[in-house]
């Protein structure tokens, strides 16, 4: 599967390099991937003549918009389910679907604490509120509940949940001091060098991998810019950028 996908991209990539035309692609990108995508695209635009237009937002909204004919070339979702749904709706190139990053979960605190102390706080329940991205639809929220379940704190912590509509809001609730703790994406805290509080990187084994998948939409089936981006993400340079922004690289690049 992986081989097939790379082959597919490479063939089109060769075709593109022959034409040497500068193309552009409009990307719908899950909000949590914002900074990382900006870094990727900035780097890629230096190397090629392709240009990228970026829209950031919630994966759910992008899915709804794509369903109703939004003119995107690629969809970088925060989960697996939505690219599958796009594919099943016949709106995307099913073979192009791949895991571009695996998100990592961190526990954020507004107070300065050691990692161990943060873990203890979560376990003992010595906090007022814990902010969680809404597990009804946010992949990081689902993973957060898995972590609480792993710690056997799922039920007793329920009364202290405040749900953000995405991890950005989960972060905001902690940052503004309204919640003592919050489950956020590692990618968010890695950006905040000067953050006054503290965070603890939750072991990846405590929750199922937060796979973030992307898919090329029908309109961009032969868009060289889209293919160039996929190739770049798979390149060593691209992988370095992903890691530096707090994501794991998928060992198997397709499902």
């Amino acid at each position: 599967m992986k081989l097939y996908s790379i082959l597919f991209a490479s063939i089109l990539g060769i075709f593109v390099s022959f034409t040497t035309l500068a193309e552009s692609a409009h990307l719908a990108v899950a909000a949590n991937f914002r900074q990382c995508m900006l870094a990727l695209v900035t780097e890629l635009e230096k190397e090629s003549n392709h240009r990228y237009v970026l829209s950031f937002g919630s994966s759910g909204k992008f899915y709804g918009q794509i369903l109703h004919g939004a003119p995107f070339d690629m969809f970088f979702s925060a989960d697996v389910a939505k690219p599958i749904a796009v594919s099943e709706a016949g709106l995307g190139v099913s073979k192009s679907r791949f895991t571009y990053a695996i998100g990592r979960l961190a526990l954020l605190s507004s107070a300065k604490k050691s990692a161990l102390a943060l873990e203890q706080t979560l376990i003992t329940g010595a906090f007022n509120k814990v902010s969680i991205a809404n597990p009804k639809f946010a992949p990081y929220g689902i993973a957060s509940l898995e972590v609480l379940d792993h710690l056997k704190r799922l039920e007793e912590s329920k009364s202290k949940w405040v749900l953000g509509e995405n991890i950005a809001q989960a972060y905001q609730f902690v940052d503004s001091g309204n919640a003592d703790l919050g489950f956020v994406a590692l990618s968010q805290v890695m950006l905040e060098q000067k953050y006054a509080g503290s965070f603890w990187l939750i072991p990846d084994s405590w929750h199922l991998p937060i796979q973030q998948q992307a898919i090329i939409l029908n309109k961009a089936k032969n868009n060289p810019a889209a293919l160039a981006l996929i190739n770049f993400i798979h390149s060593n340079k691209g992988k370095n950028i992903l890691t530096s922004y707090g994501y794991l690289i998928a060992e198997n690049n397709s499902v």
Binding site: S58, G60, K129, K136, L163, E165, N178
Partner: protein
């Protein structure tokens, strides 16, 4: 398709929120509207603009400020903590206060316009007939400004029901506490539960239409002037 218990909770919470906010706003907005209608002070313009601010401010901006201000490090938050009330975000009381700020102009302006259109004369007449200030308010201002109060009540209620951005920012989507209908719809959409979203949205649509229909009908009957909640 029927309503889930969560949806019913959201509807009930929304009605409770809108009723509380409307009643409190009528009490708060009336003296403000009175002052704005009667004063010659230079403060009239800035205060009027302040009251009207939520009309133009994106709710998310307002919500963000409230989240910060009502948080434990914010000035309001420190005040409520000092009073022993804790902090307001993620609570029903917090939503009530935020909604009151957001819906304030929709309640103040119709009342202010109504009081202005009454003018000073009936109030003076009442004074010469031996009515004191409180007596004058209830026996003359209130009945004469009734259309304005009805409009204010309907708009305040409907606007609170339709509010989303602020609740999104400070609510935390807590069932029976802050997860109102608009949030519930948003959550349904985000979770790709379009059927549930459609159903709740249709209820909201029907409700809003009926409210506005009633308002237009009432105003037509009163004066034939149509809707005038702004200035």
């Amino acid at each position: 398709m029927s309503l889930s218990p969560d949806d019913l909770d959201a509807i009930w919470l929304t009605l409770r929120l809108a009723t509380t906010v409307t009643l409190l706003l009528l009490i708060l907005a009336t003296p403000i509207a009175w002052w704005l209608a009667k004063t010659d002070s230079w403060l009239k313009v800035p205060i009027g603009a302040l009251v009207a601010l939520p009309l133009v401010l994106p709710p998310t901006v307002l919500g963000f400020y409230l989240l910060v201000l009502m948080g434990p490090n914010g000035s309001i938050g420190e005040f409520t903590k000092a009073l022993g009330l804790g902090t307001l975000p993620f609570t029903f009381s917090g939503l009530v206060i935020a909604s009151m700020i957001y819906s304030l102009p929709f309640v103040v302006q119709p009342i202010q316009n109504a009081i202005q259109s009454i003018g000073d004369r009936p109030i003076e007449v009442a004074a010469t007939l031996g009515a004191g200030p409180v007596d004058r308010f209830f026996s003359v201002v209130l009945p004469l400004a009734k259309p304005g109060f009805v409009t204010a009540t309907i708009l305040g209620f409907a606007h609170t029901v339709g509010e989303f951005g602020i609740v999104l920012m400070i609510g935390g989507s807590i069932p029976k506490e802050t997860r109102v209908v608009s949030i519930q719809i948003y959550d349904h959409v985000e979770a790709l539960q379009y059927g549930n979203a459609h159903f709740l949205a249709a209820i909201m649509l029907g409700f809003s239409f009926i409210v506005l229909l009633g308002l237009y009908g009432f105003q037509r009957k009163r004066s034939g002037e149509g809707l005038h909640y702004g200035r």
